[in-house]
């Protein structure tokens, strides 16, 4: 690689030139930042400005550029120079838009801009252009596990997009639950009548697709490797093993129905009480005619009990979402065959999302009666059942006699091994417990993917056993890179949602395989070419990185050194934050790139009344929120110096001690919400940061500092109003506390 040649470009557009002394910034870049080339420009992001930079890269052989203009999140198309290393000094959103108006603020505003230029120059000198993961892969095919509606759709959509698919189904035929239905809830206007499921047609199209290879009666015996190079062992029912390799995986293993025998008070186990699946079987048998019970009696009255063992802490605590529409559909089976059949749906809340309201109205038109109530007991009565329920509108006990009772039970995800339970027995087994070893082997037997990862054989669960990493912000993503979940294994859902879900997951899987083949990261830093480098000679084999990696990307080699599976890595830097000896770094993001910025600023002395506060802001939520505060011209203190970080999980405590030693008065860490309802894009990063910082109090006390000088805050992307308040309050708190006693020693 050519010798490093640096250049800084100072923009005076967007009012920067009016509010700031741009020549002074240029002088700082040159004198203090030691930039080889410094240029000012009145409109840097226009064609002429960009061309100027391109010319310098080409003719002046500039290899490192510092752009002092707007936020790194702005004008990314204009400032895209993939052949050089680049840093950005945020003078617009970070300075002129957020520092109070007026000449009395000119001094602090300029100081802030000066420091951001110093920081960007310092960072630049430590940064390298990421070369990309040298371990390129070439596999772009997918494995889809599960041949139900979700799995078939994922396979079909991926194949239609031109990717080869291996579809694995443990049963003897494709179709899953959808194949067992008589009709499905309508998904087309006018949303009034049950529709054909289309499952057999889809199965036929999947089966005959040239890019899809279907393995029936097959399970996954082992999954190892990483995106772009997964190695799979498929086990046939016969016992024979087939080895295949794929680029990415979609797990669409669906759900099991909740066991109605666990609901004896609702008649589970009685002759004439069935669940939705049981009723579908009866409807299929009747083939559009009058529906008959198992004993052959034609059903003249039927009662549906909603939320059977659902939204109930004793059974399933959640709502399965589809059951109200499913009961409406099944009530229509009866009404369509014979309008005289009495059909009553006893519900607590009727939840029909999407266009379900139209379907609900259609059922009312057909004479299906809906009773808001709660069933207390279902018992045998004559040749049928007696449903005792509390009518919640009339606030009275009521009784309905019916030939048949249908329980709307919920979806239990088929998500394999519970990783939390696995961790527990693994630890106990390592301690020598024979019982734990036995439990571990039992757990292993229900595994779906049989991952060889050190973190366990299946995808970690988010909530209630559903395999996902965040239902809302990043659907389909799991905590295992390159493996995506779709359909009811991810969250409860109906066929329409599952097919949409499967399409999304297939696209994510394709993206993961493509990125892996280019040596790039997957979500949420999709396209990032940097990857962790480890200086193994400095490693003390403490295992913190392997344990703390939220994605199971780091294994151990035979000498117990960390072994990075770069393709599994999401580039969050949690390992870098964890490493006590600081041997892990990225080319453009390291202990040094951030540390040098921290040390680059000018710290005024303790008599200046100008405190300095370091803000380490997560680039996913907090930094955008700060930018948006700027966009909304929300004023905050000019005493803060903000450095974006990939995740609070990447914050190494050395940065904190360096900052305090340098004379900063305080450190604010801004990250995503942690805990059960976490919003961290890297799942555990903000949680780990919180944990690490909780341990830093002693260090601070040892330095003679108040523990409040380091504080952590949760900031969501929508908190542009709140974030300015957090800053101002914290600055006020530090002013009250007085200057750091460390000032002048740094």
């Amino acid at each position: 690689m050519a010798e490093m040649k640096t250049a800084a470009y100072i923009c005076s557009g967007c009012g920067l030139g009016d509010k700031l002394d741009v020549p002074q910034l240029a002088k700082i870049a040159q004198k203090e930042g030691k930039m080889a080339l410094v240029r000012e420009h009145g409109f840097l992001c226009n064609a002429e400005g960009v061309q100027m930079i391109r010319d310098d890269i080409e003719k002046e052989e500039v290899t490192h550029i510092c752009i002092a203009a707007c936020s790194r999140r702005a004008k990314t198309d204009a400032f895209s120079f993939p052949t050089v290393a680049m840093t950005r000094a945020n003078l617009r959103e970070g300075v002129v838009w957020v520092v109070a108006e007026g000449t009395e603020h000119d001094e602090v505003r300029q100081e802030m801009a000066d420091d951001y230029v110093r920081m960007a120059c310092a960072e630049l000198k430590k940064a390298k252009l990421p070369a990309g993961n040298p371990n390129h892969t070439h596999l772009k095919n997918l494995m889809v596990v599960g041949g139900g509606m979700s799995g078939m759709t994922a396979a079909f959509e991926a194949a239609e997009a031109g990717y080869e698919v291996i579809l694995v189904e443990k049963q003897a035929s494709l179709g899953g639950w959808a194949g067992k239905l008589w009709k499905r809830v309508p998904f087309k206007a006018p949303y009034a009548e049950p529709q054909e499921t289309g499952a057999s047609e889809l199965a036929a199209r999947v089966g005959s697709h040239p890019l899809i290879k279907v393995h029936l009666n097959t399970t996954v015996a082992e999954t190892s490797g990483a995106p772009g190079r997964f190695a799979i062992k498929l086990a046939q029912e016969s016992g024979s093993l087939t080895e295949v390799s794929v680029g990415a995986i979609v797990q669409a293993t669906g759900f099991a129905t909740y066991d109605i025998n666990k609901l004896p008070e609702l008649g589970g186990g009685l002759d004439h009480v069935v669940d939705h699946a049981g009723l579908e079987a009866l409807a299929k048998a009747s083939n559009g005619g009058a529906i008959k019970r198992h004993d052959g009696k034609e059903v003249k009255s039927v009662v549906f009990l909603q939320c059977a063992g659902q939204r109930d802490e004793k059974h399933l605590p959640y709502c399965s979402g589809h059951c109200c529409a499913t009961s409406i559909k099944q009530a229509m089976y009866f009404k369509d065959a014979n309008p005289e059949v009495s059909t009553v749906v006893v519900y607590d809340d009727l939840r029909v999302p999407g266009m379900g309201e139209d379907f609900y109205r259609s059922a009312q038109h057909k004479g299906v009666v809906f009773a808001k109530g709660k069933a207390s007991k279902v018992e045998t009565s004559g040749n049928g059942c007696r449903v005792n329920y509390r009518d919640l509108i009339l606030d009275a006990d009521n009784v309905i006699e019916a030939d048949l009772v249908v329980l709307a039970t919920g979806q239990v995800p088929s998500s394999g091994v519970d990783i939390a339970a696995w961790d527990k027995v693994t630890k106990e087994a390592e301690g020598g417990s024979e019982e734990a070893k036995q439990q571990k082997s039992e757990l292993k037997s229900i595994s779906i993917l049989n991952l060889t990862y050190r973190q366990g054989p299946d995808i970690p669960k988010l909530k209630y056993g559903f395999a996902d990493s965040h239902f809302i912000c990043f659907p389909y993503e799991t905590q295992r890179t390159g493996i995506y979940t779709a359909g009811p294994v991810r969250r409860p859902m109906d066929i329409l949602q599952a097919t949409e879900d499967a399409t999304g997951a297939a696209l994510k899987a394709i993206q993961a395989a493509e990125n892996a083949s280019l040596g790039r990261a997957a979500h949420p830093r999709a396209g990032d070419l940097s990857f962790p480098n480890v200086r193994l000679e400095g490693c003390t084999q403490c295992k913190r990185c392997t344990v703390e990696c939220p994605f199971g990307a780091i294994d151990e080699d035979e000498k117990r050194f960390p072994l990075f599976n770069e393709q599994r890595c999401r580039r969050c830097g949690t390992c870098m934050g964890a490493c006590p000896v600081r041997v892990i770094s990225f080319e453009n993001y390291s202990v040094d790139t951030v540390g040098s910025q921290i040390k680059a600023i000018e710290i005024p002395d303790e008599f200046s009344d100008k405190p300095r506060i370091l803000v380490l802001a997560c680039e996913n939520d907090a930094y955008p929120a700060l930018d948006m505060a700027g966009l909304s011209r929300i004023v905050y203190s000019a005493f803060v110096r903000i450095i974006p970080v990939r995740c609070l999980g990447s914050v190494n405590t050395i940065w904190i001690t360096d900052a305090l030693n340098s004379g900063y008065d305080g450190v604010m860490m801004m990250g995503c919400k942690k805990g059960d309802e976490y919003q961290c894009h890297f799942v555990k990063g903000s949680e780990l940061a919180g944990y690490r910082m909780s341990k830093i109090g002693d260090t601070l006390t040892g330095m003679g500092l108040e523990p409040e000088r380091v504080s952590t805050f949760e900031v969501a992307i929508t908190d542009n109003q709140k974030v300015a308040g957090l800053i101002n309050d914290y600055v006020a708190q530090l002013v009250e506390m007085g200057p750091s006693p460390m000032k002048g020693f740094g």
């Binding site: 609900y360 109205r361 009312q364 004479g367 009666v369 809906f370 009773a371 009518d391 509108i393």
Partner: protein, 205 residues
């Protein structure tokens, strides 16, 4: 039990929803109620309803025929139409309540002596006599519906109001003899008789 009522019971058994759907004005809408309760919360006389419209709808679906038809709830309707304009399902609730009250009155199972029921009867008889309402005769008939002495008492209690109205020329004691009426009273009465005949033919009520 009136003959009409007996016939209805014989025909519909315990399927009251079907009976209402087929026999009550706008009754076909009842099954479309989604039990949100906005009607109950919107009724100015809500606290005085033994069963709110929401409950009436639920009771119809639950087959509570006697409780609904003998209730004086529907007779609390002031025809303010608040429920109609607020119903998210656009049920003509006011009309359904009127329809139910009319049906109960027709079957003669509505509560005896219910004041609004009595008033409605007097009002109708007053208007079909001449084609127009004679307010004085109507008022007197209302006051005297419970007998002569109660009528005098009612009248005395309203003396101030009546005198005020008379002074303002808004109550004319001469209306007692003659008063306003349509010219073609005969035509109107024949027309109404025909309407009744048609309804009987169609078994509408």
């Amino acid at each position: 039990m009136s003959e009409l009522n007996q016939k209805a019971v014989a025909l519909y058994g315990n399927n009251f929803l079907k009976e209402v759907t087929e026999r009550v004005e706008d009754g076909e809408w009842v099954s479309m109620c989604m039990q949100c309760g906005v009607c109950a919360g919107s009724c100015p006389l809500g606290p005085h309803w033994e069963h709110s419209p929401q409950k009436i709808f639920r009771m119809i679906m639950a087959g509570k025929r006697d409780e609904v038809l003998t209730s004086d709830s529907m007779w609390m309707c002031t025809s303010c139409y608040s429920c109609i304009v607020r119903c998210p399902r656009k049920l003509p609730i006011t009309h359904i309540m009127h329809g139910l009250a009319h049906y109960a009155n027709r079957l003669d199972v509505a509560p005896k002596g219910q004041p609004t029921r009595e008033l409605a009867r007097v009002f109708w008889n007053n208007l079909i006599k001449t084609g127009r309402v004679n307010e004085l005769k109507f008022s007197l008939a209302v006051y005297f519906k419970d007998g002569f002495s109660q009528g005098i008492k009612n009248l005395l209690s309203m003396q101030v109001i009546a005198l005020g109205l008379m002074k303002a020329k808004r109550l004319n004691p001469m209306e007692i003899i003659g008063g306003h009426k349509c010219k073609d009273v005969g035509g109107i009465q024949k027309m109404l008789a025909k309407a009744q005949e048609i309804e009987a033919r169609r078994q509408i009520s």
